[in-house]
Every structure is written in C-alpha cells, then in structure tokens.
C-alpha cells in the first residue's frame, strides 16, 4: 500500500496553493458578499490548465489523472468553496461525461473548448418536482426531422447563468422508464433555451445557480450524447465523478476550518491562557483533524479507484456522505471556537459554515448517498 503522491501531484498541489494565496484568497470574501462570478479568476485558472486536468491533451486538457483534479479542487475550495465547486462540476461532470460518452466530433466541438477553459459546463438534471426522485422529471425531447425539440423547466442549475455548454437530461421515451431518459449537449446559443430566475443562496454565493427554461428548444440530432435511453446511466456516472469532487470540496472546507481554528485558538487568550490550551477547545480541534483525515482518505481512495478503472460508485457516495457531514459538523465547531467573532462577516469560518451546508444537499443529499451505499452493500 502506498500513500505517497507522485512528485507531479505534490508540485501541482503546491502550485495551486500558491495560485490560491495570490489570486483567490484576496477576493473570496468579496465574491461571496456580492454573489459575483469572478470571470477574471477563471481566465487565470484556464491559463494554468486547471480547468481540464483529467481530460487528454488532444481534447484541450492537461492529461493528468483524476486524483490530481481532486487535489486541485480541494486546494481551491480551501480558499473559496464556490470556486472549487465550479471547477468540480465543470470538469468532474460536464467534461467527464462528454469524454466518456461523446463521439469524436462532440469531443472536438464541445469538450475541447471546455477543457481549455474557454467556457464552463453545466449539468442540467434537477426539476422543480424532481430532486432526489429523478424519475419524476417532466422535461421531454421529441425528434422532429434532424432536431430534437426540448420542452420543460429545470432548476438549481449550477453554472446556469455562466456556462457555455449544458448537459441536459430529458425524456425521449417516458414509457421506457429507467431507459427512457436521454442526454443532450445544448450550447448556450440554442434557440428556445433561456436562463430563468437566479437564486440567492445562503452560501456558495459566488457559484451561479438558476432555473433553465426550455421552450421548443431546438437541438440538432448530433447533439445527443451516447444513445437514446442512456440518460439515467450517464447521470449516475456523472454523479460518481461529481460526488468525488464534492467530497474534495468538503476536504478543502474542513482543512480551512482547521487552519482557522488552530490559528485563532492559539492567539485568543481567555482565563490567562490561549484557548487552545483549554481542553474544551483542543478536543474539538482533535476531532476536526481526525475527521479531516478520514474524509481525505475516503476521497482520495474514491479518486484512486476511478484512476485504476475500478468501480467507485459506493466509495464516491461514502466519501461525499462522510466529508459533507464532517464539513457541516466542524464548520459549526469552528464558528463556536471563534465565538462572537466567528459569527460576524469577515471571519472566514462564517463563510465556511454557510458554504458547508449545501454539500449535504446537492449532487445527492446525505439521504440519497445512504440509499446508494445501502443499495450496494445490501445487494
């Protein structure tokens, strides 16, 4: 068993950390406060090749492994959870699905500019009445000559307002049940698609989330990803990758919560001594450090399995479940350690706590992860 990273992975982690200290930390509070998408930051990320790490170089990526991508998401999220997440969903779901299921033509036309970071990708699945219950979706795609006509409303679409390429899930044959949903690559310019309401969120505020409305939206037949009926399978594959990314995002949040808690508890003096020397605080920090390690190893293991081309659905769900619940639990503790100062805007832990909550909800709630895990272990 080897827990060592390669020299390249270590260097890339150091480089992304330095990148974050220079480019992300200085704006993280501002983009949260203003719910602003930092286009200038994503331009720099693209220049460094951070927007397509596991995508082969022939399709505009860096050609590294998935674990390297996970390390980068973790370090980005340590500085800004929204930024880590945006990269995670763009690379982990949107790019990966086109890589895994796309035709050569689709990879050249859509994946390459995405992996180069020219524009973001979005995963358009959730509907107002279909969250965990994906089968309750109502959006349809009907073949009309050489085009599919899409009708329906999607919601909670991450990167909705900022993406250039959308992976849309719609019924092509509702009667076929689990084999009746299909995936379409919808470019931003597609007639009949528009961005609906932008959501104002508790956390993850610089990540842009919106409704997506499809009214007789025409998409050429060549934009069908894979074959008709493969949509649900693709969504699940996307989730396996995406959940590993969310777990990495949580590891970044946890590391940041630990960094902040250690720093503050060593500085803050009460009853004549640094609060880090009070057992009540030091034990919180011990638990935080332990859960961080556990979450980190679950996450790296899931990514490692993916790189070994082994099944990793269960491990991705476990990593996401454990890391997200640990992130929520310990960001609350981190605020507690900071006391009143931690409750005020300007304290990083205040942002971390708000950012943590969504990780227990999106890309499958904690309850959905338990359904996936129990479904596999009880087989």
């Amino acid at each position: 068993m080897d827990f060592k990273f390669t020299e390249e992975q270590e260097l890339i982690r150091k480089n992304v950390r330095e990148f974050c200290e220079k480019n992300v930390d200085p704006i993280a509070a501002e983009i949260d406060e203003n719910s602003r998408h930092p286009a200038e930051l994503f331009k720099k990320l693209s220049e460094g090749g951070w927007m397509g790490i596991p995508i082969p170089q022939q399709y505009g990526g860096a050609g590294a492994d998935y674990l390297t991508n996970i390390v980068v998401v973790e370090e980005l999220a340590r500085s800004c959870s929204s930024t880590g997440f945006t990269v995670s969903i763009h690379v982990g779901i949107a790019c990966m699905l086109i890589l895994l299921f796309g035709t050569e033509e689709q990879k050249k036309k859509f994946l390459t500019p995405m992996a180069e970071g020219k524009h973001l990708g979005a995963f358009v699945l959730t509907e107002p009445g279909a969250g965990t219950d994906v089968m309750a979706a109502t959006t349809t795609a009907v073949l009309d000559g050489n085009d599919y006509i899409i009708n329906g409303t999607k919601t909670f679409t991450s990167n909705g307002p900022t993406a250039g390429t959308y992976l849309l899930f719609a019924w092509t044959d509702k009667a076929a049940g689990r084999k009746g949903m299909s995936t379409f690559i919808v470019p931003k310019e597609a007639p009949g698609m528009r961005v609906g309401e932008h959501f104002k969120k508790m956390g993850l505020r610089s990540s842009q989330t919106s409704e997506m409305i499809f009214k007789d939206c025409r998409v050429p037949k060549e934009n069908l990803l894979g074959k008709e009926g493969m949509g649900l399978q693709m969504a699940m594959t996307g989730f396996d990758h995406g959940r590993t990314g969310i777990a990495a995002q949580c590891v970044g949040i946890l590391q940041a919560a630990l960094d902040e808690s250690i720093r503050y508890s060593k500085e803050r003096v009460q009853f004549g001594t640094a609060i880090a020397r009070h057992q009540a605080i030091s034990w919180m920090i011990a638990d935080m450090a332990t859960d961080l390690s556990a979450a980190r190893f679950l996450t790296y293991h899931a990514a490692w399995l993916k790189d070994q081309k082994l099944p990793f659905s269960k491990e991705a769900a476990m990593a996401k479940l454990y890391a997200s619940e640990a992130a929520m639990r310990h960001t609350i503790k981190a605020v507690q350690i900071h006391g009143g100062y931690g409750y005020c805007k300007g304290a990083k832990v205040e942002r971390l706590m708000r950012d943590a909550k969504i990780t227990e909800i999106y890309e499958g709630t904690s309850e959905a992860q338990r359904m996936v895990i129990s479904g596999i272990v009880l087989r």
């Binding site: 020299e7 480089n15 090749g49 860096a62």
Partner: protein, 255 residues
C-alpha cells in the same frame, strides 16, 4: 542565442518549521522548496531564453533527496537540469558549493553566456556562492541586479545600491546575482509540471568530482544578541564628544 545557467538551492520551507516545547526549532515535519530568490533567478533565465532564444539550464548541489527539486525547476521553463548529489552535501559552506558548481559548469557544460544566481538563499542568505563562483570561473560578477539586458556580447545590468541605481556593462560570459524585484516568478501550469519529467537531467555524484575540500568555518557557539546599557550621558559640545570617544576607547569598542 545565449545559453543561460540558473543556480538554485533546495531549502527548508520555513512555513513548516514549528516551535518545539522548549522553544527550539522543530524540523521533523518540514517540506522543502526552491529558495525564494533562486526562483527569481530561474524565472529570469527562462524569460531571457524566451526573448532571445537559446536555452536555460538549471543546476543545483544538494543531498540526494533534493532530486525532487529538478522537476520543480524544469516545470518553471528550464530546458535541462544538472544535479550534483551526495548525502554529505547537507551543510556545505559557500566556498564548497561554489567550488562544486564551478567544477561542473567548466567541465560538463560546453558553453554558456550567463549565470544567474539569487542574491542570497532563503535559509542562510550568506550572498557568497554567486561572487565566489564567478571568481573561480574567472568571469565578471554583477551583484544586486534588479534589471538587465543582453546586447550582443555584453550584459547591461542595473544594480540597486544605497545611493541609487548603478548601470554596469560587462562582457559575456558573466554572472549576475539578482534581487527579487527583477520579476514575479510564474506559477507553473499543470502541463508544465507534467512535462517537466520528460526533460533531460544529469546527475553527478561526489566521486566524479575532484575532492571538495575541507570546511573552513567553525561554529564556536550560538547565542542570542544582547544589549548592554552603561547609562552614561553625553552632551554635544567638543569637550563632551572627546569624553564620549574616550569612554568608547576605555571599553575597547574603538581602537
């Protein structure tokens, strides 16, 4: 098209040094990095190469574990790297490092036009290796360089000195030691890091070199600086100044 050598040192990343229980320094979990100003040296070598053509060569002397530094240096744009390694190279003195570098540069590297060193290392900041190396190679040395340009067979460099900026020209080959103001080192992209392992490296062991020579410095002891106050007051007239000088002489502060 010039051939430019950047010398660098692999040093402890000070961010990882912890304070031990008795106030001592705990190095047990430290990581290493390319010394800060040496990153400026590498960056300048690569920028010069990018502007003028030619090649940038990185060279370092250190313990075998410092092999990790090669990919770091190469990911920053150098074309090839030389690594002079031995387990005994842990605490080399500046004179020894300069000797080794001079030996390798003069015997292993066919031709070079410019050597760039950081003004001093992040750990010791002795500022010795650059000038000593130039002396050994019998080439001009320009220190405290904040900007330079290469024009035909000469280098024109701006030196930052106390009174202002001194502009100096020297024939090539030459050596410059650079200040951090000279550039902002790039952060290597993912592809740069992945490509680094594919670039050529040459490892040279101690056995392939002439004897490095004994250490010349002796550490007698380490003590914190101390300020002694004798609480004598002096005025500003001639008589008082004479009394002040007399007092310094009496204590042996001045001869």
């Amino acid at each position: 098209m010039p051939s430019i050598i950047a010398c660098f040192k692999w040093v402890v990343d000070e961010a990882y040094i912890r304070r031990g229980p008795s106030g001592d320094l705990d190095f047990s979990s430290v990581d290493y990095k390319i010394s800060e100003y040496d990153r400026n040296a590498i960056e300048e070598a690569v920028r010069s190469k990018e502007a003028l053509g030619g090649k940038a060569i990185a060279i370092t002397v250190g313990v075998p574990q410092a092999t990790k530094s090669l990919k770091d240096a190469l990911s920053r744009g150098c074309d090839q790297a030389y690594f002079v390694a031995d387990a005994s190279f842990n605490n080399l003195e500046s004179s020894q490092t300069a000797f080794i570098l001079a030996e390798v540069i003069s015997t292993r590297i066919e031709q070079y036009d410019l050597i760039i060193c950081g003004e001093g290392s992040s750990d010791l900041y002795a500022q010795q290796v650059g000038p000593r190396l130039a002396e050994k190679l019998c080439i001009p040395c320009i220190s405290f360089v904040q900007k330079f340009s290469i024009d035909k067979n000469q280098i024109v460099a701006e030196r930052r000195v106390e009174e202002g900026v001194e502009v100096i020209a020297a024939p090539l080959p030459a050596l410059v030691t650079v200040l951090p103001d000279i550039n902002v080192p790039r952060i290597p992209g993912v592809k740069d890091t992945l490509m680094a392992g594919k670039k050529p490296t040459v490892t040279i062991t101690k056995d392939e070199l002439p004897p490095v020579g004994e250490t010349l410095l002796l550490t007698v002891g380490l003590a914190a600086s101390r300020m002694e106050r004798s609480c004598e007051m002096f005025g500003t007239d001639a008589q008082e100044i004479a009394r002040f000088v007399g007092s310094l002489r009496k204590r042996g502060v001045v001869g």
